[in-house]
């Protein structure tokens, strides 16, 4: 059995897109954030979007650290507020591809109001919400996506609350592109991100990720690899279904896919139409 040349340092195809001097990153062994980030960077690379035209805005949490690792204009803002920040940035520079990269607590709990309003306005943003079912950075507390009966540090007797169905929330608020993938579906995730980047309007992608430290261990799911095997066995791809039907249950099925792809004039389209009609130059 000959070994291939392992020790040769090859240039990673994404090397120009991440800040190599900051590796290795802070995420745990088995965390899916690295995969979510690489899928995003592959999407940028394959679309050949120039790096200077991309801005990444993140909130607070493990997912929020993505901004620090990408080699683009990146903004690590306050908890729950990447979406209004990105709104301001996009309106100031409409030709930028503004991507919000954040976690389930940041986007759906403290940032919930901003999520539904940005979706309502059909603001031209791509929001990648990495859902690991808990608040990882602070040690594994429950959040708005933690399943019923799950154990976390602040639900030691099991969660008494129901979780959100994030695609359903985004769609019913007005998002025009809604998808959910697990990090195991790295290929499909990349394709969805590519689609979202090229679209106008509000694009929402939920990414299910293992969190062995905060969620996997207390709920006896095992290591990250066990969580990933679970995704492999239990995820079903259902493109085009109503997000209301997109089940995501604890120890049950995980429905993934691109659920919604609609066309509706986005905020910038409406505003730019107004400028044109009035003959206003900037």
């Amino acid at each position: 059995m000959e070994e291939t040349k392992l020790m040769e340092k090859k240039v990673h195809p994404l090397e120009e897109y991440f800040r190599k001097e900051r590796l290795p990153h802070i995420w745990c062994s088995g965390c899916g954030l690295g995969i979510a980030m690489t899928s995003f960077l592959y999407a940028i690379k394959e679309l050949e979007i120039p790096k200077e035209k991309v801005a990444v805005v993140s909130g607070i949490g493990c997912s929020g650290r993505v901004a620090g690792y990408v080699k683009m204009d990146s903004y690590h803002t306050t908890h729950g507020r990447p979406i209004p920040f990105a709104t301001g940035l996009k309106l100031a520079k409409p030709d930028l591809y503004v991507v919000v990269f954040s976690g389930d607590g940041d986007i759906a709990a403290i940032g919930g109001n901003h999520l539904i309003h940005a979706a309502r306005r059909n603001m031209d943003l791509t929001v990648i919400c990495v859902n690991n079912f808990n608040y990882g950075m602070t040690g594994g507390q429950f959040g708005p996506t933690t399943p019923l009966e799950a154990i976390t540090t602040t639900t030691p007797y099991g969660n008494f609350e129901y979780p959100f169905n994030l695609p359903h929330l985004a769609y019913s608020s007005g998002a025009t592109f809604v998808a959910r993938w697990t990090v195991l579906h790295a290929y499909q995730l990349r394709q969805s991100i590519k689609k979202a980047l090229l679209r106008k309007g509000f694009n929402f992608i939920e990414v299910i990720s293992p969190c062995p430290t905060g969620f996997g261990r207390p709920n006896k799911i095992g290591d990250a690899i066990d969580e990933m095997r679970y995704y492999r066995e239990n995820s079903i791809i259902r493109n085009g279904i109503d997000p209301k039907e997109a089940e995501l249950s604890f120890r049950g099925k995980i429905v993934v896919g691109e659920f919604v792809e609609e066309e509706r004039p986005s905020f910038l389209e409406i505003y730019q139409k107004f400028l044109k009609e009035k003959g206003i130059e900037k």
């Binding site: 901004a67 690590h76 209004p84 709104t87 301001g88 100031a92 109001n113």
Partner: protein
């Protein structure tokens, strides 16, 4: 068709003058939420700003408003919001973020009776300390107080200029009385208005670090989309902008954020002195109350008291050195403000030799009259 500012002489509402001043200063982004008594600013901007190619966006709450401002400013566009006490309370976390990221933006707080919902349609001046200390931690900001509709126009331009020069959020501490007053406002042609823009980086993108300060302790600012690949974070960071969670980095960064304003006080602080040179009693005031104070000192002079007026135009940073200097020659200070003594505390802190400081206070809703200030001038002690 290119829109122009309303050059000429007008009989204008204070709030409207402030909004037109913002447009004249180059503001092209406004994210706000309606709140009495600042709603008129939003309405004027919503009507005028799109004609200049700017954007008015009404966000879902004040927290989203301040954050959107910071985002737009990072994209290179001058941005502003207008609110009152309850909204400002929501914005303080965002103001802390603007301080840490060193992003220029202007927040107008048209103060009203407080605390809580208080007196939405009546005057107050009780947010002075909040403008200074509202957010958590140690930091410095600039706060300016206009006392007339003309100053609502002029000082808004000054606020934008200071904000761009020092990369700091600037609060305009107006009050409901000035905001809802109608007076003569003279608006000069755009070419005669002095505008300061943020310093741009001179280096090439590969050599640029976002937080290396110039001689004013202000780093040149790169905006998104120009190839500089800035990373800005609210965490304590080093000069490359990367998080550096150590006491040492924190000392270095926060010290510079404080010194940035403290060491440039001479350039930032502005005040108006009336009949101070031979004064024995000096009235310190700001905003609408300063106008009553001006009448009061003139009346006092008629009655033979050598009174003078020290009107704060910048409230923060506080002009401690000048107060200390004045206190050497006078018999007492009288501080008139529509709050329990927020500026009075500062005067007490800054004055020398234990010179008495008499307070003339009302808590909100009613203006302080010149007679009430005169009474304070007569008073020997509190």
């Amino acid at each position: 068709m290119k829109a122009k500012i309303l050059t000429g002489t007008h009989y204008m509402l204070g709030d409207h003058a402030c909004a037109e001043g913002a447009i004249a200063a180059g503001c092209r982004f406004f994210a706000g939420y309606p709140i009495t008594p600042s709603t008129e600013i939003a309405e004027w901007i919503a009507r005028r700003l799109p004609l200049f190619g700017g954007i008015y966006i009404q966000m879902e709450d004040e927290i989203a408003s301040i954050t959107a401002l910071i985002g737009a400013s990072c994209g290179g566009v001058k941005s502003m919001t207008a609110t009152s006490g309850p909204g400002y309370s929501l914005m303080v976390e965002g103001i802390g973020l603007a301080v840490m990221l060193e992003v220029p933006c202007v927040i107008v707080n048209v103060q009203r009776g407080a605390p809580s919902t208080g007196l939405p349609t009546l005057v107050g001046q009780g947010d002075v300390m909040q403008a200074r200390w509202g957010s958590h931690g140690d930091y410095e900001i600039i706060a300016i107080s206009p006392n007339s509709c003309q100053e609502m126009f002029d000082l808004t331009i000054k606020a934008f200029n200071l904000s761009e020069k020092y990369r700091v959020p600037v609060t305009i501490l107006a009050d409901e009385a000035v905001g809802h007053l109608r007076e003569k406002v003279v608006i000069p042609p755009q070419e005669e208005i002095k505008i300061i823009n943020r310093e741009k980086p001179k280096e090439k993108p590969e050599e640029y670090w976002p937080y290396v300060p110039n001689e004013n302790l202000v780093p040149p600012m790169a905006i998104a989309g120009e190839g500089y690949y800035v990373h800005m974070t609210g965490l304590t960071h080093d000069e490359r902008g990367y998080p550096d969670i150590t006491g040492e980095a924190h000392e270095k960064l926060v010290r510079r954020l404080i010194d940035k304003i403290q060491k440039n006080k001479k350039d930032i602080i502005e005040y108006e002195e009336v009949m101070i040179d031979d004064a024995e009693v000096v009235v310190v005031s700001f905003g609408i109350t300063a106008r009553a104070a001006l009448k009061a000192i003139k009346e006092a002079r008629k009655k033979g008291i050598k009174a003078g007026l020290f009107r704060l135009i910048t409230i923060w940073p506080f002009p401690e050195e000048r107060i200390a200097e004045i206190s050497k020659k006078i018999e007492k200070f009288v501080v008139a403000e529509i709050n329990q003594g927020q500026v009075r505390r500062e005067v007490e802190r800054a004055r020398l030799n234990g010179v008495p400081v008499i307070g003339v206070h009302k808590l909100g809703g009613d203006l302080i009259t010149p007679d009430e200030i005169l009474e304070g001038i007569w008073k020997k002690q509190n």
